[in-house]
Symmetry: C2
Subunit: 264 residues, 2 copies
Amino acid sequence: MTQGSSKRPLILVTNDDGITAPGIRNLVESISDLGDVVVVAPDSHQSGMGHAITISNILKMWPHDFGAANIKAYRTSGTPVDCVKLAIYKILDRKPDILLSGINHGSNSSINVIYSGTMSAAVEGALEGIPSIGFSLCDFDEHADFTASRGVVRTLTQQVLQHGTPKGTCLNVNIPKVAPNELKGIRICRQAAGHWADAFEERKSPGGRPYYWMTGNFTDIDSGEDTDEWALRNHHVSVVPVQYDLTAHHALAELNQWNLRLED
Amino acid sequence: MTQGSSKRPLILVTNDDGITAPGIRNLVESISDLGDVVVVAPDSHQSGMGHAITISNILKMWPHDFGAANIKAYRTSGTPVDCVKLAIYKILDRKPDILLSGINHGSNSSINVIYSGTMSAAVEGALEGIPSIGFSLCDFDEHADFTASRGVVRTLTQQVLQHGTPKGTCLNVNIPKVAPNELKGIRICRQAAGHWADAFEERKSPGGRPYYWMTGNFTDIDSGEDTDEWALRNHHVSVVPVQYDLTAHHALAELNQWNLRLED
């Protein structure tokens, strides 16, 4: 790494569990010597926000004391994607060299990527041409052990600072809930086919009106050994390249055989 | 279409502009004779919600009078994706034969698909194995003219009831803002590469605290003539097959060349 603060990489950090979550603190501590770190993160829990942005309401933003002299930090009232946009278009005076999102408390493997605020922040970074990584630890506990995760974050951040990311992608990194000495290594994977069977638990308000809590069970319906779910079950870190071009190119020819004449 | 109410297709309808928006009314009126229609839609504007779901808060749901005797309707406090999940796992006793989302007031072409509540509802339907279409009219006006859109909705709904959708996809349909007789036809397209340059307009609260409104300018940075943006500029309806497997399969080989050994 080149010495001298003007040559140090600018590292933008965000998450979806909120700026006070242990996951983002562990992320920052793992990489703070690799560059100049700026944290822009939600002021409260924003899990499940997907790629939501705040376009019909106002956004607020406050400087935040991250408790480390060399870390600039801001918390916002917005979603993770709002935070990335605020960082790029309002806070920073140059484009970050890398964007790191997480470490999420809970898995974002398989189809969970699509609901994930952590990963949507990374996708937004990629859209802006910034090499971006989302990190998730497969442990929802607020007091999860991030020891193994810290080495993973550091290794992948260094690799991406060196190589960038493949064109049009960001990286979805999931870390199994195991002790550091049980971690078998890092595997490049595809997203497993998975399905959520949802349920809605009905309760009654004190006034007798019904309301609902969403719950659900995830099933891995993919028997492949090249998937993120397989890697995690077998104590590997999974790395999936995620693209933001949602076009199903393979389906174009099939659709061109339909009769799409408009009725008169 | 087979006669007899038990054989009629079950059509689930949602949107992101809210259940009282003119777009969803025009959609329902275009296809209500093609099957049994159930509407489950947000009770207020939910644009820009992407694939957000409500997992840290409660959901409410109310029966809604859609003003047509044969249309069952519910409004919910949730996002468009919440509405799809509530419909499938709480309201309906069988799987819908088709899901229609929209008609959105405003374009969801190019990269806008990723922020769109309308399209996320369609993606959620596809995840559940339901042939799903999102419709958007390129006109943000609440009093937009949906005359041309109605024929487009009807044609594509009939085609999808007949063919289903290509495996692992839903359809993103955008309709240009033109009179019906200026509509040149329907084109199968890929998503154009586009970019939003955002800006944040700073204002002060009555108490003197800063807050921000997100604004921005979209640029089509794609010169291809096979894109949705090209089709719309040239008065065609664009149909893009959208996939929910976000894996960038083409990038797997490149990543496998990295040194991903964890430090000891």
